[in-house]
Amino acid sequence: MAGSKAPTRPLSPHMQIYRWPLPMAMSILHRITGAGLYVGTLLMAWWLIATASGPNAYATFGAFINSWIGQLILFGYTWALLHHMLGGIRHLIWDTGHGFSQSEREWLSLATAVGSISLTVLLWVISYLSIGGGQ
């Protein structure tokens, strides 16, 4: 090969130089959010155990979840949960053998992204309005 002219045809690109098609990004995000939710169950377990343990443990959990880092984690958890749920519904549709055409793949992927982000924002707006500013 030495000295030969570099081929002008495209050489199979690896992931980091690929233009990410939306369905590919959604597929990767599905796995990442799944792994995130896996770790996030610790938060749910802590919340339930703290409530079962008594007012002090409940207050400790409350102090953490209402701190800025706690709110950030909870916001991420909300998005991951909704994204993984919508992505899962998309996979269940695909399991029936439907939704595989080019336009349907794009549409379903876009719906997962837009749906998860807008539902997350909506839920947080509702929760902040219902409890009057984070408390």
Binding site: R31, G34, A35, L37, Y38, T41, L42, M44, A45, L48, I49, T51, A52, G54, P55, Y58, A59, L81, M85, G88, I89, H91, L92, D95, L123, I126, S127, S130, I131, G132, Q135
Partner: protein
């Protein structure tokens, strides 16, 4: 002795392994269950926002909420155990490390499930 027979020749006539699609099926089964249970979980969390301990305790101990929470805990921990096993099998190829991680994965899922379920039972039945 070198094995000269191909992998295909060695398994031919032995029949299927029978459980090949069990994980695939259980993943879908729990995925379908997770959809309504997750929506219910989000609603329960919304109802509990900003509550003091006594109110949170009372809501989580009410039978309908407790039963939905138990179903949610069971379904998601089973689902996430299979999902994490797929991730491990995709990325970890060294046999000992893979087996160790798959065992840890099961321990984690069972521990989270039992700890969370215990908390719900304690809230429901007191002491």
């Amino acid at each position: 002795m070198t094995e000269h027979r191909t992998p295909l020749a060695r398994v031919r006539g032995l029949g299927s392994a029978k459980t090949g699609t069990a994980h695939f099926w259980h993943q879908r089964l729990t995925a379908v269950a997770n959809v309504p249970l997750t929506i219910a979980f989000v609603l329960i969390v919304l109802a509990l926002l900003g509550r003091n301990h006594a109110a949170a305790q009372q809501i989580l101990a009410s039978p309908l909420v407790a039963i939905v929470m138990l179903l949610f805990i069971g379904s998601i921990t089973y689902h996430m155990r299979i999902g994490m096993q797929v991730i491990i099998e995709d990325y970890v190829h060294e046999e000992t490390a893979k087996l160790a991680l798959i065992m840890l994965n099961t321990f984690f899922a069972v521990a989270v499930a039992l700890a969370s379920a215990y908390a719900i039972f304690k809230l429901s039945f007191g002491v």
